[in-house]
């Protein structure tokens, strides 16, 4: 394949993919730290970089029915978390369009 397009985030604090080291998100984009993923704690982000989206799926999560897309690191293709496409109860709507990154899959740089 050709050369991969990788986006860098201005620092100095950045969350990176634990396996390949590309930038994933900036702590400025954190909306909430109180989420749980498959492997434990997860953060809700406004925006992430260097991810690719999987197909839409309906899932029954702890907070109710949601339509989500899994997100994969665009560099090493590992599953990093998911994105909320649609929420079906009013109090969950704030998550729509935002991304969950599992803390277990991240490494912190610049702290």
């Amino acid at each position: 394949m050709g050369l991969l397009f990788v986006e860098s985030l201005p620092g100095p604090k950045v969350f990176k993919c634990k396996f390949c080291g590309v930038d994933s998100a900036s702590p400025d984009a954190i909306v909430s730290k109180e989420f749980r993923g498959r492997h434990g704690r997860a953060y809700l982000f406004d925006s992430v970089v260097n991810v690719s989206l999987g197909p839409r799926e309906d899932r029954l999560l702890m907070t109710g029915l949601h339509t989500v897309n899994d997100i994969y690191c665009s560099c090493c293709q590992r599953l990093l978390g998911w994105r909320y496409e649609k929420a079906y109860s009013e109090d969950q709507k704030y998550k729509e369009g935002k991304y969950i990154l599992e803390k277990h899959m991240m490494l912190k740089e610049g702290w």
Partner: protein, 489 residues
């Protein structure tokens, strides 16, 4: 091969761009046309495909948009083949196709009479009657026509104006023979014109501007680069009668402060280019800053009479400026840069050869302009490491930087390269105070992130081959230049 896989796998493809994929040939395009019937938009610019491709493409019934920029193997016969298919094309771009002439375009228009946009810039040399008559058939639908680089005459322009009175955009950049008379007869029937490109139409005077002002009240973009015979009187008419003007290019037009006073009436102005207008001074800038609050882009290249006071006015009035070019405005000092620090939306800043500015000024810019993406400091001879430290600390979004000829050392360079995570493009020619070790360490610090570098040829032999290999492997392209060390003022 690759194209075949895409084409066979995605039969419902609607939009495809193969721009610059130079290995693709007529066979590939033929396969594409046979398999992807839903195709609406196709870009084959810069490919070496020939007329046979156009034969295949003509079978695509839903094709609305076709771009063939710089396809030198395509000629009139190909365009003839193209017009034999269904008449679905709405937007065609044949700019820079050397072998296309009026005949070819005429046959194209025969076949596709719902055409909305035609770009034939830099391809035609002369306009012939067959093309002109067929243009008249597109009266209702044609909105965009670009004929840059063509030989025209007043009668040709008159014919175009009469044939296509629904035009919203006309491009006559670098056309020979564009006169006031021609413009008058062109714009008279075309009152819907929004974009008028008259770059390098040297013969035009204020009369042309008067005609435009009289007829085209909806004009939003006016390009008049190098139309040196126009003056503030013509611009006064434009400013009065074209209130929604958003973009005006007056590079090399010799305009003065009085012209800017008139232009200030255009409160919707977003892009203003005044390069090479050395009679512009702070007074003119004050006029603009007092009312053009929506200004986003300002080009003051070589407007050497501008001083710090002009920048103060700008910072006060035009808070939304994103792109600013102050190259060679050498009266500017650090005080001026302090004012620039208050322009929070600034993303692109060019400060070439501002010999009076020092690292103090750069610090103010770095701290204040948090969104700075591109910075050009070539030949700012008084900038040293302190400036680089400031950038390293505060200009965290910086992606492109030029520091050629600056007085920096390896230490500052190293720190800069390791701190700025978004920095991708660095031009560092003739950094005479940086040692070879300095270059090595600095480049290694940013190895994975750099994509474009410009350095002196001599370094090719002294930098370690390992480093050069690492840079190449991570996708960095290095441009080696051979420039003599000369100081300019």
């Amino acid at each position: 091969m690759g194209l075949a896989k895409v084409v066979v796998g995605c039969p419902r493809l609607e939009k495809l761009s193969l721009k610059w994929c130079r290995e693709i040939s007529d066979i590939g395009i033929d396969l594409l046309s046979k398999k992807c019937h839903q195709l609406r938009s196709l870009d084959i610019s810069y490919l070496k495909v020939g007329n046979e491709s156009l034969r295949s493409i003509s079978s695509l019934e839903k094709l609305e948009e076709l771009a063939m920029v710089c396809c030198s193997c395509i000629d009139d016969d190909g365009l003839g083949l193209l017009s034999k298919g269904s008449s679905s094309l709405k937007r065609v771009d044949v700019s820079r196709c050397d072998h296309v002439t009026s005949q070819g375009l005429a046959s194209l228009l025969e076949g596709h009479n719902f055409l909305q946009k035609l770009n034939a810039a830099d391809s035609l040399h002369e306009m012939e009657q067959c093309f002109l008559s067929n243009l008249a058939k597109l009266k209702d639908t044609l909105t965009v026509l670009r004929l840059d680089g063509l030989e025209v005459s007043a009668s040709v322009l008159q014919a175009i104006g009469e044939s296509c009175n629904n035009l919203t955009e006309i491009g006559l950049s670098k056309c020979n023979g564009v006169t006031d008379e021609g413009i008058s007869s062109l714009v008279a029937p075309c009152s819907r014109l929004r974009v008028i490109d008259l770059t390098c139409c040297h013969l035009l005077t204020n009369k042309a501007l008067d005609s435009i002002a009289a007829n085209c009240k909806m004009v939003e973009c006016l390009r008049l680069e190098s139309c040196s015979s126009i003056s503030e009187k013509g611009l006064q008419q434009i400013a009065t009668y074209c209130p929604i003007l958003k973009e005006i290019d007056l590079t090399d037009c010799g305009v003065n402060d009085a012209a800017l006073q008139h232009l200030a009436e255009c409160s919707q102005l977003q892009i203003l280019k005044l390069g090479l207008c050395s009679s512009i001074s702070d007074k003119g800038l004050a006029f603009i800053s007092s009312s053009c609050r929506k200004l986003i882009e300002l080009d003051l290249y070589r407007c050497s009479s501008i001083t710090d006071d002009g920048l103060a006015a700008l910072a006060n009035g035009c808070k939304k400026i994103k792109m600013l070019n102050l190259c060679y405005c050498n009266k500017i000092t650090d005080n001026g840069l302090v004012h620039l620090g208050s322009m929070e939306e600034l993303t692109n800043l060019e400060l070439r050869c501002l010999v009076r500015i020092t690292s103090i000024g750069i610090s103010s810019v770095a701290i204040g302009c948090k969104n700075l993406i591109e910075l050009d400091l070539k030949r700012c001879y008084s900038i040293d490491d302190t400036g680089l430290w400031a950038l390293a600390r505060s200009a965290l979004n910086l992606r492109q930087l030029t520091i050629s000829y600056c007085q920096v050392t390896g230490l500052g360079l190293c720190h800069l390269m390791s701190s700025l995570r978004c920095l991708q493009d660095v031009k560092m020619v003739h950094l005479s105070w940086v040692s070879i070790e300095g270059f090595e360490m600095a480049l290694r610090a940013a190895c994975g992130r750099l994509k474009k570098l410009k350095m002196l040829n001599g370094l090719k032999d002294v930098l370690s081959p390992e480093l050069l290999q690492m840079l190449q492997a991570s996708g960095c392209r290095i441009r080696w230049v051979n420039k003599p060390l000369v100081y300019k003022d």
